[in-house]
């Protein structure tokens, strides 16, 4: 990598005269975000990791936001690829599951997407793949776009809100809070406690909801073919 840690904790590049590349900076930023999350990311720490003065980073990116935008493009670009085999339902499920897995593996992407939509080649290829599958399944361009967006939003929502970083801790916490509830005030919650806890971790819950959405889309597509063939 051309970078090694000095005893003082500050990285020194093997050859200080070698010009940094945009990609080197982005790769280091991506790694930092993966390791410690968006919260503890800083330009100064990134510079230290690169063995460079903080201000050097500004030679490559206008400011923090521009850098994070570039990180998103850099990363999202390599994220999605394989189109699955099978009928449209299976292929659509495969696409969204891939996305979900990637988002869960890199939670900071979800946080960054909160601020700004992602419109780079990688995400475009993903959209193209999804719309193609839906088109081949008989969805008109309008219906396909709406269906895709619902699936996409649900997938992002599941990654963001359905999978707490420390699932075991979240389940324990939730269990004790739910156990403390007044059963006469919250009877329905009390009845569902174990199931509610189960929906917090794992991928089952994501796949269940995804399946429901796909069921409804399949039903609508079928109905459209039979009753409204315009």
């Amino acid at each position: 990598m051309g970078v090694s840690m000095g005893v003082d904790g500050r990285a020194r590049r093997a050859d200080p005269r070698a010009k940094l590349s945009h990609e080197q900076v982005l790769r280091a930023a991506w790694a930092m975000l993966d390791e410690a999350g968006l919260e503890s990311f800083s330009i100064r720490r990134l510079a230290q990791r690169l063995g460079v003065a903080p201000m050097t980073v500004y030679g490559y990116f206008r400011d923090r936001d521009a850098l994070l935008d570039a990180v998103l493009d850099y990363g999202a670009d390599g994220l999605i690829v394989a189109a699955a085999e099978g009928d449209w339902r299976t292929r659509m499920s495969g696409l969204m599951s891939q996305l979900h897995r990637q988002l869960v593996a890199h939670p900071f992407v979800v946080e960054l997407r909160l601020r700004r939509p992602i419109l780079n080649p990688g995400s475009m290829r993903f959209t193209e793949a999804g719309l193609t599958v839906l088109g081949e399944a008989g969805f008109a361009p309008e219906q396909g776009a709406r269906a895709f967006r619902a699936l996409f939003i649900y997938t992002f929502g599941s990654a963001a809100f359905g999978m707490p970083p420390d699932a075991a801790h979240a389940q324990r916490e939730t269990r004790s809070r739910l156990a403390a509830l007044d059963e006469t005030e919250f009877p329905a919650v009390a009845r569902s406690v174990p199931a509610l806890i189960d929906t917090i971790a794992g991928e089952e819950q994501f796949h269940r909801g995804l399946g429901w959405l796909l069921d409804a889309l399949a039903a609508e597509a079928g109905a459209g073919k039979e009753k409204e063939p315009r």
Copy 2:
């Protein structure tokens, strides 16, 4: 409110000797977050708004995180109330739409929920209402919990990722990025451009997806009643 702005921009309390209450601090924090968002919230600014030294805030809350947790509890507590009339599908849709409207109105709640689940009385009442509706519709406690969670996650996802703060700007940006695409490389996207843009703003897209989820749940509940009445 007992607070007025001085010429120097620093708030002065009407009676400096009047002890601050936890609720005063929380109300001010909530208002700040509503006006300027989580990004520009700071303890120091909050203190200034309260007409008090920064360190005074620490007399009421252990640290920034504890304060934000309390803000979430304070606000979410008053958020949800009315249970709608009608069949279970209508009532469920009403509940989730209320939640969606509140989240869109206070985006920082969505950002905070990213870090931590909400387990206060207000959110419990919401869960109880949802599970009750589903229970009356014939869902077993387990099925109800799973259905509720899918609807809940989808609703949070829509508020977080489906409604950009500046919709008009986001649509313009997206339109120009999509217009620049190579039509032979992205034919399906090109065909769907207008529809894709349409899914970005407004509540129609949220309601469409919500409707699909409810359709699938209704179908499953119906099938369960007919075929697996255990």
